[in-house]
Symmetry: C2
Subunit: 238 residues, 2 copies
């Protein structure tokens, strides 16, 4: 992938070609990749190297593979950035070369920018759909029967939906790529149910204020509340 | 990896175990993973599945593999988060139907934040190495014999190196994931050699001022110059 940090591997020819074809629009989501033999011939590599490439694309959430050999088998292009990127992110967080602070800094940057960029009027139907989704996540978090792990999952989704209101697909993809890492650092910061009981009431109140500011079109206020919410948790709990 | 979005695969047992061992401190950077046969036995999977897992860890920048069968062969734990994450993110940026405006907004956000976060003193050897790399890219861009396509490639690399001076590996990975998209929209905005001749002198002067501000530790000034540089091009040329 033209990456000066890594030596060339046979399978990289396939990754490069898929990236170039996606960028040029010759490949689209839902399309099927050519078969193993065709790819091996096109790139002058072994079928084993083609299989390596497909497996890597699968882990990255770029293709979905099915087994079998009929016409419906093979690798279909999908796009699940969160799955692929968070796998890599998690490994690096685990080896402690990537700190929670870096994730916190990045989400504060992306989320406050997105809140400031929200326009509820450019595409009202889209904005209303996303606000409904955010409100629904908020209500699920507020239900007394919602368990802690479910809360963390809803919480991370709530933040991604708010960021998507900015209408910027790059920022949204980046937030989605951080979703599982966010869910996990929040979940792991709290080690006892007693501590969680103290924290969750504050989180619910902060979420409600953030949502009201966004839904009321007060982007600057929402940005400030988001920063306060994320940094408070990292400082007091994380 | 406890990921509800993906079906279980045989190789995931190895990825999970490496993550758990890293978190627990049983595996550290520089350690060698157990051999193929040992891993296959431990997880009750085939050696082919173990090889899949190693290859995926290699792409993620979590291990470095060497060929051969001596005692020094095998997979050694390293950590190159930027390389690993950006490989996945790039594929998703490539498949999204992104507008130039979204890319411009995102790079202004990431690059101005990074310029403001640069610390030349936290790790002086690292900062000096990156400044040398940026200076070298600058000098290559300034050579009269550098062709236009080469200039665009150097230009995009220059911006990624500057962002990496922030020391935040998540932001660096996000910038690296945008690198080819940046190179291409800049290249495609200019349709004639005559127009390019007018633009390139301005770009060179802007790059030199940005570099001087960063190298001089004037992060706020560098952030302002970067915003001006990126938005000027998008407004006047793009």
């Amino acid at each position: 992938m033209n990456n000066p940090d890594k030596p060339a591997r046979a399978y990289e020819a396939v990754l490069d070609a898929v990236e170039v074809d996606l960028r040029a629009g010759r490949l689209k989501l839902g399309d099927q990749l050519p078969g193993e033999r065709a790819l091996a011939e096109r790139h002058g590599i072994s079928r084993a190297s083609v299989r390596d490439a497909i497996r890597i694309l699968d882990v990255m959430g770029v293709v979905r593979t099915s087994t079998g050999s009929g016409p419906s088998s093979g690798a279909v292009l999908i796009s699940r950035p969160a799955a692929g990127i968070s796998t890599a992110l998690r490994m690096h967080v685990a080896s402690a070369q990537l700190t929670v602070r870096e994730i916190v800094e990045t989400r504060v940057l992306l989320e406050t920018w997105a809140a400031g960029a929200v326009s509820l009027h450019d595409d009202e139907a889209r904005a209303e759909g996303l606000l409904d989704e955010a409100r629904d996540l908020l209500e699920q978090m507020e239900r007394p029967e919602t368990g802690r792990q479910e809360f963390h999952d809803l919480d991370a989704r709530f933040h991604v939906v708010l960021a998507s209101l900015s209408g910027n697909a790059v920022i949204t993809a980046m937030m989605e790529s951080l979703r599982l890492a966010i869910r996990d650092y929040v979940s792991e910061a709290i080690t006892s149910e007693a501590a969680w009981g103290d924290v969750v009431a504050t989180l619910k109140a902060q979420h409600r204020r953030i949502f009201d500011a966004v839904a009321g079109g007060r982007g600057g206020e929402a940005a400030g509340l988001l920063r306060e919410h994320i940094e408070w948790f990292h400082r007091e709990v994380g």
